[in-house]
Point group: C2
DNA sequence: CTCGTTATGTACCTATCGGTCCATAATTGC
DNA sequence: GCAATTATGGACCGATAGGTACATAACGAG
């Protein structure tokens, strides 16, 4: 039909992912993305429409390749095991030697430019959606094993979400994995074993 | 001696504080600061040297005027009361109707530009210093009332710091104060009363 | 071999970034 | 009233931001 692409889209997305992860949406300059991917401006805009277009493709990939543990976590049979799997998952993710520090989404969602405001809001909405799914799973599984006494499913979900954000922020600040593990242990002390 | 200033430094710092708080260091453009303070570029540079110079003056003010509850918290006599006062303090701070959402320092410390990297690191260092003070106070006061069983002072301090960051991130995302309060309650369920 | 189509490379665009320069204004000490 | 000193207003700066225009290059279909 026409001239074929000279780049591999998977490789490009992986390279762009690293850049956005390290810098967040705003601080990731177009020139950074071009350098990392090897594309020219023309190719990038032809293929992805805009910086934001590329970003959403990257987020999709991030969730698929790096946030997959969330599904596994939600499939666990008790509140404690759900929470544990979730918190251990983020710990490994955010402090992996191969990955940039911190969380791609949080790194973006905490910046304050008016330009990126719609992006921020969409990320926040996604987070809230996951919180609801978490709450619902806590509700369902609390029949099998109880939540900590005095905590509703909703409380528990908000608590875990806060901790996840906190761990991501800490990781970005260079807090070592072992410390994160101890935080997770501490957080779950009062969660009944199945 | 010479021509007097036409602006009130306190008012200027307060105005700049709001801007930096809302946007973080990087996203706060010079034009935003000039608009909010009413200064001209010349006056700002004469008085504060640079954007970064102004920023540190603002941080100083932020800690003095808005983070004062930290000192009161550390003065509490038991681990639980220290933690409670701290967490309630950040809850009120970050979700106050009069204040911008989230935390000035975190909003800045999570952005990823290379330009702001030194600033980021200095903020992170300050955070670590406070963590150590918190740990020491937990250690001292754990004689009066115990920490949750299985938690060392160091664990407890890291746990509380993570939660503080998490609450700040949540607040920036628009999570309401009441939710934050429930998170705090949940986090402290296993902390022995004095 | 040519035509339609899509990809690429380069030059260019406007807006904005933080920051500097310098002439001018306002004050106090003399 | 004059000199010294400091503050202010505004023009100006190079660098960079994201994005566009357009000419050229590489392919498949006929």
């Amino acid at each position: 039909m026409a001239r074929p692409r000279e780049f591999d889209e998977d490789e490009v997305l992986d390279a762009a992912l690293r850049v956005f992860w390290e810098k967040g949406y705003e601080s990731a300059a177009l020139s950074d993305l071009l350098g990392a991917t090897g594309l020219t401006k023309s190719s990038l805009y032809k293929a992805f429409g805009s910086k934001e277009g590329l970003f959403w493709r990257v987020v999709e990939r991030y969730q698929r390749d790096f946030l997959d543990f969330r599904h596994e976590a939600l499939a666990e049979p008790t509140p404690r095991r759900i929470a544990a799997r979730l918190l251990e998952g983020v710990t490994e993710l955010h402090s992996g030697r191969r990955n940039p520090a911190g969380c791609l989404e949080l790194n973006t969602a905490l910046s304050g430019s008016t330009e990126a405001e719609p992006i921020r809001q969409r990320l926040v909405r996604g987070r809230e959606l996951f919180r609801q799914r978490l709450r619902d799973r806590f509700e369902e599984t609390s029949a099998t094993a109880p939540l900590p006494p005095g905590m509703t499913s909703d409380d528990a979900a908000s608590f875990i979400m806060s901790l996840i954000q906190g761990l991501a922020a800490q990781a970005k600040g260079g807090v070592p994995r072992e410390t994160a593990r101890r935080v997770v242990r501490a957080a779950l002390l009062s969660w009944p074993e199945s």
